[in-house]
């Protein structure tokens, strides 16, 4: 170890220190304080150690030290050699016994299972037919790269479920900001329940746009897609506006559910939340929803509105 051999060297260095302080080259070390008398008491002690332990007095060093200036001090001398100034201790069996004890491996937290649940939107509003309730929640459990995702979204009006789906996805981080997800989606409403295979991405697009894009394939050639993009606009660090757009797409007409191929619905919302703490934030928002393309025509034919604007109040929370 070094402290043992450090004795002679630091002794030398400190001896020189006083001398150097007097002839100090201030241009190099303005910060250096003049050596004080107190520094010298070290020498006797270090000297003893020198005599006792020093196995490699480097006499060749000494001629080089007197002209030393501050740049040289402690840095450049002597010319590097293959031999260490302090010899490397010769190993004993005791050293070897102490070096590699049998151990069971270090328990690190870098594979710790983490679980997360978030209600991004959980809100209610006054609908014509009664009280509306909407939820959009996601949860994951897993590790940095591999995760199991659960997502659900749905709407209830006046106690009856208008739409509800749930997805179970395996997610894998494939790029710096993107997780690839694959799994199944099951729609409980509207109409008869139906299932889809799902493939998509969850991630953070440039400018910190939070993106979820998923494509679905059902039986008898049905296809669909859903895109959700949201952003956080900080009015203050606790009062946060969240614009969100959700777009739905269908590959094949679905008369049973009054939907046609193409873009079916778009929802645009602006929610203003206040983060009392990070985990719990009540919000109010305004949401505009509209049927698109042929789906809009179908709704018109049925005598339904094709758009709807609602004022919502809700809670955003995670744990």
């Amino acid at each position: 170890m070094s402290a043992r051999g450090l004795g002679p060297i630091s002794c030398l260095a400190l001896l020189l220190h006083g001398a150097i302080a007097m002839a100090q080259d201030h241009s190099h070390h303005q910060v250096l304080q003049p050596a004080t008398a107190e520094e010298h008491p070290e020498e006797p002690g270090r000297g003893e150690e020198h005599a006792t332990h020093d196995t490699s007095p480097p006499p060749s060093d000494q001629p080089e030290t007197p002209p030393m200036n501050h740049t040289a001090m402690g840095h450049t001398m002597p010319p590097a050699s293959d031999q260490p100034r302090q010899p490397i201790p010769v190993l004993t069996d005791a050293d070897r016994d102490a070096a590699f004890p049998s151990v069971s491996g270090h328990a690190a937290g870098d594979r710790q299972l983490v679980s997360f649940v978030e209600f991004n939107r959980l809100e209610t509003w006054n609908a014509d037919e009664g009280t509306g309730l909407f939820w959009d929640a996601r949860a994951w459990t897993g590790y940095d790269v591999n995760k199991l995702w659960l997502r659900t979204e749905g709407e209830r009006i006046d106690g009856s479920t208008e739409s509800a789906d749930i997805e179970l996805l395996y997610g894998r981080a494939v790029a710096r900001w993107w997780d690839l997800v694959a799994g199944v989606r099951h729609d409980l409403e509207p109409g008869e329940s139906q299932s889809w295979a799902a493939l998509g991405v969850i991630g953070l697009a440039p400018q910190k746009l939070e993106v979820e894009a998923t494509a679905y394939i059902g039986d008898s050639g049905r296809t669909a897609a859903r895109l959700e993009v949201e952003y956080e606009l900080l009015l203050t660090n606790r009062l946060i506006a969240q614009p969100l757009v959700e777009l739905n797409l269908l590959g094949k007409d679905d008369p049973e559910r009054a939907q046609a191929a193409g873009f079916t619905t778009v929802e645009a919302g602006l929610r203003l939340r206040y983060e009392f703490n990070r985990k719990l934030a009540p919000y109010v928002g305004i949401v505009y929803e509209r049927a698109l393309g042929d789906t809009a025509d179908l709704r018109r034919l049925d005598g339904n509105d094709i758009d709807d604007t609602r004022v919502v109040a809700g809670l955003r929370m995670w744990f």
């Binding site: 170890m1 070094s2 402290a3 043992r4 450090l6 060297i9 630091s10 260095a13 400190l14 910060v31 250096l32 304080q33 004080t36 107190e38 520094e39 008491p41 070290e42 006797p44 000297g47 150690e49 480097p58 402690g74 840095h75 001398m77 590097a80 050699s81 031999q83 260490p84 100034r85 201790p89 190993l91 102490a98 070096a99 590699f100 004890p101 151990v103 069971s104 270090h106 328990a107 690190a108 937290g109 870098d110 710790q112 983490v114 997360f116 940095d144 790269v145 981080a173 710096r176 900001w177 953070l204 440039p206 400018q207 910190k208 900080l234 009015l235 203050t236 660090n237 990070r278 995670w318």
Partner: protein
């Protein structure tokens, strides 16, 4: 200039109303054993427990503490938080019997350990479970026994998951075999640390779920409007677009701050006002130790110059400063000569400027001097992160403090970021970089397309002469690594025969941390040959600052010319830096090597180093 405490403090810190920043005046360990102070006791009137000699019995248990108004369990040594000051003497052989008395009901696990930070010893005495030994099971006693081969200020702490952040840390003072290299009349340990009421496991999980939980300083719409007014629409938009492109936040200075932590000085909150006594004209040695889990402190004593005489326990040429930044796990010994005032404030604010802890040097107990305001919060620039040329950070030095001129920042960012059409790291057009940039930094293949690496530095520099983010041009003389000159020659003297380059990597959002993009569990040990002299080159590919600690051997930091500069056990690596140090592999065995931000270590920024014959 001093004030009696009943008149309150000089300044009104912006966070002073918050109970958990200052903590309770009478906080701390609720029930502890009182240990007699020995002959070697520090000349202190504080309540620090000091154990000295060569034989020690340390009992690790769970103790109720209260720093914030809430009673919480802490892991303690002999019922004390911080753990007792241990005082050894160079050249003696110490024996420490450490018993695990953590109750079964504890959430902190059944195993414990003590690691002697910065101490040279046989590998099986180093105290890292699974690396140096198997830990100390409940009810068991482990006997540490080794020769003390160095002197200076060090510390010790648990290396078992999350026990250090729960309170198991203490000062370790080793008196030299001979006389001290400097004279002083009084000697105090000033151990800084961070306390969270939240259970460390829950805190780690929270970081994984929402890493920016504590960043309540993100730029808002009104900041945007102000910046537009000051520096124009296009510069401001371009600045926001750049950060948006990287998906990062320039106010992200530390993962955790005073929104989570209460800062402690010798186990006392600012309200508790730890006090060290002096008589006018005396020379006082203050042994600063940063025993925090995650907090860098900037330390100063308004009205006093501090003469730094040792870093990480090793003597340096004395350097007189007003302020220094102390990375997690570092130690600095300073000498001060208070006179002319009856009281001085020891002020330690966190690097993110969210809180502080303070204590007092007083002519008698109960005095207080004015407590400064926490400094304005700095804002990271692209240059800070090594995305501009090496000189850019220094350009910043010539300007007013960052946070006082956000508008200029926008301009500054622009100037250093011109031509950067990157996707969060990869720079496509180096040719447009301003002059002086080093050759483009290359990166290990394991970082490429690695979803756990969110950034790569393009033009890192050593920045040994940089006081650091938030400390540039603050009107005070701030210590830099360049100021630290070892007071002794390179004890080895050989030139390194080979280089090992390691990149510090991570992903802020996923809170994953690693070396070279490979987490601890997935990484092979780093192999060194017994007796060799090698150079470790670290490159920081993250926007955070990391204190890197190698167990068992010294880290001999090199200057910009590649020469031995200062001997340390923990090397601070700010964002945008590339620093090198020499290692003499004279300690056979398995050693831990890791970031000392404990949640980064836990998340994977750790390796095992094997020194083999």
């Amino acid at each position: 200039m001093f004030r009696d405490s009943r008149f309150g403090r000089g300044g009104v810190p912006p966070l002073s109303r918050r109970r958990f920043v200052q903590g309770l005046a009478a906080g701390g360990v609720l029930a502890g054993t009182s240990w007699p102070r020995s002959l070697w006791a520090l000349k202190s009137d504080s309540e620090q427990q000091v154990l000295a000699g060569t034989n020690f019995d340390l009992v690790i248990g769970e103790t109720a503490v209260n720093f914030t108004g809430r009673t919480r369990p802490a892991i303690t040594v002999n019922g004390s938080l911080p753990a007792p000051v241990l005082r050894w003497r160079e050249g003696t052989t110490v024996e420490l019997r450490v018993r695990n008395a953590i109750p079964e009901s504890s959430s902190r696990g059944h195993e414990t350990s003590i690691h002697w930070h910065g101490i040279l010893l046989p590998a099986n005495m180093d105290g890292v479970p699974g690396v140096s030994f198997n830990g100390i099971g409940r009810g068991e006693t482990y006997r540490y026994r080794f020769e003390v081969r160095q002197s200076g200020t060090y510390w010790y702490h648990s290396h078992s998951a999350f026990q250090e952040q729960a309170g198991l840390y203490g000062a370790l003072i080793i008196d030299p075999a001979g006389a001290e290299p400097f004279h002083y009349d009084r000697d105090y340990v000033v151990l800084l640390s961070d306390w969270a009421d939240l259970d460390p496991d829950a805190l780690f999980a929270r970081l994984k779920k929402m890493s920016d939980h504590d960043n309540f300083y993100r730029r808002t719409v009104s900041d945007f409007a102000r910046d537009v007014q000051r520096s124009g629409w296009s510069a401001t938009v371009a600045d926001r677009l750049m950060w948006g492109e990287m998906r990062m936040t320039p106010t992200d200075l530390s993962d955790l701050n005073a929104n989570t932590y209460t800062y402690l000085m010798n186990g006392t909150t600012a309200s508790g006002n730890w006090t060290g006594l002096f008589r006018s004209g005396e020379k006082v040695r203050l042994r600063f130790i940063n025993g925090s889990a995650m907090t860098y402190f900037d330390v100063r004593i308004p009205g006093l110059k501090m003469t730094v005489v040792a870093a990480d326990g090793q003597p340096v040429h004395p350097v007189s400063v007003d302020e220094f930044r102390i990375a997690v796990a570092e130690t600095y010994d300073v000498l001060v000569e208070p006179s002319g005032q009856d009281a001085y404030t020891i002020f330690a604010q966190d690097m993110g400027r969210t809180g502080y802890v303070s204590g007092t040097l007083g002519a008698r107990a109960g005095l207080r001097a004015p407590v400064p305001l926490v400094d304005p919060r700095p804002i990271l620039t692209m240059a800070d992160m090594g995305h501009g040329d090496a000189h850019s950070a220094h350009d910043a030095d010539t300007r007013p403090d960052a946070s006082q001129s956000d508008a200029e920042h926008a301009d500054h960012d622009m100037s250093t970021m011109r031509g950067m059409n990157h996707g969060g790291g990869a720079m496509d057009s180096m040719s447009t970089m301003s002059d002086g940039a080093d050759a483009m930094q290359s990166h290990p293949a394991s970082e490429t397309d690695n979803p756990l690496v969110d950034m790569q530095v393009m033009a890192p520099a050593s920045r040994l002469d940089d006081p650091g983010i938030g400390l540039r041009d603050n009107g005070r003389r701030v210590l830099t690594y360049k100021d630290l000159h070892a007071a002794f020659e390179d004890p080895d003297g050989r030139d390194p025969a080979r280089d090992i380059e390691l990149h510090l990597t991570g992903h802020m959002e996923r809170f994953a941390w690693s070396f070279n993009g490979i987490k601890f569990t997935d990484a092979e040990p780093l192999k060194l040959n017994y007796g060799e002299r090698l150079r470790i080159v670290l490159v920081n590919d993250t926007m955070m600052t990391h204190p890197i600690h190698l167990h068992g051997m010294w880290s001999d930091l090199e200057d910009d010319e590649g020469r031995f500069h200062v001997r340390k056990h923990t090397i601070d690596m700010p964002p945008g830096t590339r620093r090198s140090y020499r290692v003499r592999a004279d300690a056979l065995g398995r050693w831990a090597y890791h970031c000392h931000l404990l949640y980064h270590m836990e998340a994977g920024m750790m390796r095992v180093v094997r020194v083999e014959e």
